[in-house]
Every structure is written in structure tokens, then in C-alpha cells.
């Protein structure tokens, strides 16, 4: 039985192109599912079924006359609510911006529109992509589809939750210290922070200019590569945008890992921090799987994790406070407590400390990239712990900093979170695959080989006892 909720972008594209599935029927099925279940998960901050159906009708007419635009044509997607979509508010999940209607599409939104995607709505985020999970904001925090009492990660919380819950096959998030990869890890989906500058940041509310990245979350590696290929590309109006040729990540997916050299940054999760035993076991089993597929695996060393984290947070809070200083002066009470405290950490960072952090960044990045003279990609932990309860502030605070994602916001190269199994409690485990700048195709290739060798992608959370069994009837045989 084919369930529309779990169609991948690639599978849906084939059905839609072949006119075996109607974009309108597909959109309606997911709309029904969202209406039925999102009250329990809060993945959507602004659900837009009217736009989705309009997009779907347009896609149906275009495909019917042979004007197929590509793999997203007629496929639903969502945007983290710090990304501008013309005519809708970009709230950043904050009271401060609740009426901030976007005048124009961000280039990433424009690219997805041009690809014929079906826009389902704006997705929950931590406030200003930093403060969450919070219960003192105008909208509730997103919850983990694998267990709604648990944290779904952030700040691209709704993007992770919606994708894992089968509300959407793809969503877009942003990542300044790990905010695509954290919800990907916690929700058991695939998320990439691409190379800095590969995807335009314009029209996306900044958290920290030098660390912000935009990337997709999907349920499969192939879909992630397809989505990145759609949103990557030079933007002359984004001063950080790269002119490096983008795209073709999906084309190299199935070449396997035989002969590739994979470095394991084990000290991040065994010495610098000690990962939860189940998480460490999941990563080690994945490393063994990659070796079994023919990769040459060896342990590598880089700078201590804490140096990367201190560098990331010094830059992030300094740049973040510069953006928020005026609001912090005029309306501090309108922030949620977590965003206010995390952003205020930048208020009194000395200029010399900020500059020194940027000097360290260059050193850290140069020495990290030098490692790639002997390896093709590296693997390491993403989160150190499985998801904790969402209503346990101490556990949230403890696990928030226990991550190995921020180093790659410092180095700027691609970093992808991929599921490596489940804890005994049934919560997702994950690892990262990282590369030197602009080697997304290689990172995806390794992730694809691992995904194909394991069965994690076939497991989905049960949102209720009664799933959508009618969906199969909507596919024309």
C-alpha cells in the first residue's frame, strides 16, 4: 500500500510527471493529515492550504499540457518562518515581528516557487532562530513526532517535525550553530548545512551574518540532494554568496563508497564530550557499516570541540546582539525568556574578543580543511544525546550545548545529519558526514550508500492509532 504521507520527493515526482498522481489530490491528502495531527505537534506556525491548493491546481494544469518543471513540480514543501514569502508575515516565532509582512520572496522561496512546488505554509522555529523551545511566545513550540513529550530540536523545529511526521516530504531550515542538523537528528530525518554562500541568505532574517546557512530537511538523502540542487546558486545581492558552480549533487549519489577515505572525528564524542552510550554505539555501528561497504576508515584529530564551540558562540552572540540591540533597548519584554537571555550574551563581548574569535576561526578552518589532503569526508556525532523531554528545562539546557555541529559553521563546509537508528526508547539517533567546501556531492554519496545499506529510512512515527489508509486510493493505477 502506498501512503501519500511517506512519498519521497523523488517518488512523488515520478508519479506526478507520469500523471499517476494528481498534485491536487496529493496536496489534499497532506492538508487532511496536517489538519488532523498538527494540533499535537505544532509544526506549522502558519498553515496555508489555500495557497497550496492554488499551487497544486496550477501544477496540475502545467503537467497536463506537458510543461513539467522538474522534481518539485506539484510537490508540497514548507519554509521555516524566518524566510520571506511575499504577502505572508515572517514572524521568527516572535511577538516582535508578528505583523512583519514580507514584501518579496527570499531567493530560496522564489526558486522553490519557480520549481513548481506546492507551498504548505510557514514552519515553527525557535524565536529568532535562537530561543527555544519556549512556552512564553505567541505560538507553541513544535514537538517531536516520535514522542510528542520530547524535544524535536531546533531552531528549525517545525521543518524537522513536519518532515518526520509525513506532513511534507521536504522543508527548508536555517543553520547558524546547528539549527538544520539538530532537528534532523532529533526527528530522524536528513538535514544539510551546505557550504557557506552556496544558498542565498537574502530575505532570511539573520541570526549571525558570518555563520548563517540555509539548507533542506527531507526524509531521504536523495530528496535532500534534489532540494539543495534547486535552491543553490549565486545571488549577486547576497554579499556572502559564492560564485562556485552549484548543483548536480543528486547526479553522483549512487557511486558507492568503495575506495573513499573516511576520517572519524572520534575525540569530539568520546574525549571532548562523552556522548550518550546509545548515540556513540549508533555512530560506531554506522562507521562499521561504511567500512563494510568498502570505505577506508581511519581516525583523525582536529582542534578540541570546545574551541570550536567557544568561537562559534562568541561570533554568534556578538553578531546576533548587534542585530537585536535596538529591540532589546525598546521592547525587551516582548522577547521570550530564552531568546532574550541567549541574545544578551553578546551585549558585552569586547571588540578584541570578537576579532580574536574571527582570527581563531580562520586558523580552525585552515587546519580543518588541511585534513582533507588525506581523506574524502569525515564523520562524527551531531547531538551527543537522544531527544530529551520538552518540558524539562534543565535537560534542555544541558543537552543544548552538547553537540558537534557548530564546528562546521566555523569551517563553512558541508555538514549533513543522517539517521543511524533509534534508542531503546524509540527516539532517533544520528551522525554527521562533513566535507571540505563545495563537496556536497561527495557528502551525499557517502550518506546515500549508508542509507541504502540500512533500513532506517523505512521507519516512520505513528501519530495515532488510525493512520491514513485511504491515501492509496488517491493514486491512479
Amino acid at each position: 500500500m502506498t501512503d501519500l504521507a511517506w512519498l519521497t520527493v523523488a517518488e512523488a515526482a515520478e508519479l506526478l510527471r507520469g500523471r499517476k498522481l494528481s498534485p491536487v489530490e496529493y496536496a489534499r491528502a497532506l492538508i487532511d493529515r496536517i489538519e488532523r495531527h498538527d494540533g499535537k505537534l505544532n509544526a506549522f506556525l502558519r498553515f496555508t492550504p489555500e495557497i497550496a491548493l492554488e499551487d497544486a491546481r496550477r501544477a496540475e494544469a502545467e503537467i497536463a499540457r506537458g510543461a513539467w518543471r522538474g522534481p518539485l513540480h506539484g510537490v508540497p514543501y514548507g519554509l521555516k518562518d524566518i524566510i520571506d514569502y511575499a504577502g505572508l508575515p515572517t514572524t521568527a516565532h516572535s511577538k516582535i515581528l508578528k505583523d512583519n509582512v514580507a514584501a518579496a520572496d527570499a531567493p530560496v522561496a522564489a526558486k522553490l516557487k519557480a520549481a513548481g512546488g506546492v507551498f504548505m505554509g510557514k514552519l515553527s522555529t525557535h524565536e529568532f532562530a535562537i530561543g527555544g523551545p519556549s512556552f512564553d511566545l505567541p505560538w507553541p513550540p513544535a514537538r517531536n513526532p516520535w514522542n510528542r513529550d520530547h524535544f524535536c530540536g531546533g531552531s528549525s523545529s517545525g521543518s524537522g517535525a513536519a518532515t518526520a511526521a509525513g506532513f511534507l516530504p521536504a522543508a527548508i531550515g536555517t543553520d547558524t550553530g546547528g539549527s538544520v542538523r539538530n532537528p534532523a537528528s532529533m526527528c530522524g530525518v536528513v538535514g544539510i548545512k551546505p557550504t557557506y554562500g552556496l544558498v542565498s541568505r537574502r530575505g532570511v532574517l539573520p541570526l549571525a551574518f558570518s555563520l548563517d546557512h540555509i539548507g533542506p530537511l527531507t526524509r531521504t538523502v536523495r530528496d535532500n540532494a534534489l532540494m539543495l540542487d534547486l535552491i543553490a546558486g549565486h545571488d549577486p545581492l547576497d554579499p556572502g554568496s559564492s560564485q562556485h558552480a552549484a548543483g548536480a549533487s543528486a547526479a553522483q549519489l549512487d557511486r558507492g563508497v568503495k575506495g573513499l577515505k573516511i576520517g572519524v572525528i572520534r575525540h569530539f564524542y568520546t574525549r571532548d564530550m562523552q556522548a550518550d552510550p546509545e548515540m556513540a554505539e549508533g555512530i560506531e555501528a554506522a562507521v562499521t557499516t561504511l567500512a563494510g561497504l568498502g570505505a577506508e576508515v581511519r581516525e583523525i584529530q582536529t582542534a578540541p570541540l570546545n574551541e570550536y564551540l567557544a568561537c562559534n558562540r562568541t561570533l554568534l552572540t556578538s553578531e546576533g546582539f548587534a542585530i537585536h540591540e535596538t529591540w532589546m533597548r525598546e521592547r525587551p519584554q516582548d522577547y521570550g525568556a530564552l531568546a532574550r537571555e541567549r541574545l544578551m550574551a553578546g551585549a558585552f563581548v569586547r571588540a578584541a574578543d570578537y576579532v580574536n574569535a574571527t582570527r581563531l576561526r580562520r586558523k580552525l578552518a585552515d587546519s580543518f580543511h588541511a585534513l582533507f589532503s588525506g581523506i574524502d569526508v569525515a564523520v562524527t556525532a551531531s547531538s551527543m544525546d537522544p531527544p530529551c523531554r520538552i518540558d524539562d528545562p534543565k535537560a534542555i539546557e544541558y543537552t543544548y550545548a552538547r553537540q558537534a555541529r557548530a564546528p562546521f559553521n566555523i569551517t563553512g563546509g558541508p555538514a549533513l545529519s543522517v539517521p543511524v537508528g533509534f534508542s531503546k526508547a524509540g527516539l532517533p539517533l544520528a551522525m554527521q558526514i562533513v566535507g571540505k567546501p563545495f563537496t556536497e556531492a561527495l557528502v551525499y554519496r557517502v550518506a546515500q550508500a549508508y542509507e541504502q545499506a540500512t533500513g532506517w529510512v523505512a521507519r516512520h512515527p505513528a501519530l495515532s492509532d488510525q493512520e491514513f489508509n485511504l491515501d492509496a486510493a488517491r493514486i491512479r493505477r
Partner: protein, 64 residues
């Protein structure tokens, strides 16, 4: 520097940069946040930098 930081000191520092609308709760948050930022500063291996180590944001103009 860390042991000099009190709520009153933070209140004065906040006022100097125009953060005059913070409540007592906000000031407690600012104190905690500033202490955390200073702890992070201590973790930065600044002693490893030489005078010639340049910031990451130094840019080149050849493309303009």
C-alpha cells in the same frame, strides 16, 4: 573580571548602552548571560594566535 560582576555592576553597564527598560528578571538574565560569555572567552585559545594571524572576514577586492 568574573568576580567583579554583580547585578549592580551589570545594571550600570546595561544603562551605559541604553538597556534601560530591563526588569529585575531581565537583569538577572543579563548577568547570567554575561558570565557565560566570559566563560566562553576563557575557552578561546587566544594565546595560540600570532600577530600575523588575520581575521576570517578580511576580504579581497579583485571581484568588485
Amino acid at each position: 573580571m568574573k568576580d567583579e560582576l554583580t547585578l549592580e555592576v551589570v545594571r550600570a553597564m546595561a544603562a551605559e548602552i541604553g538597556l534601560t527598560r530591563l526588569t529585575e528578571e531581565h537583569l538577572q538574565q543579563l548577568l547570567r548571560a554575561t558570565l557565560a560569555a566570559r566563560a566562553r572567552r576563557a575557552a578561546l585559545p587566544i594565546a595560540t594566535l600570532s600577530a600575523a594571524d588575520e581575521p576570517a572576514h578580511v576580504f579581497r577586492l579583485e571581484d568588485r
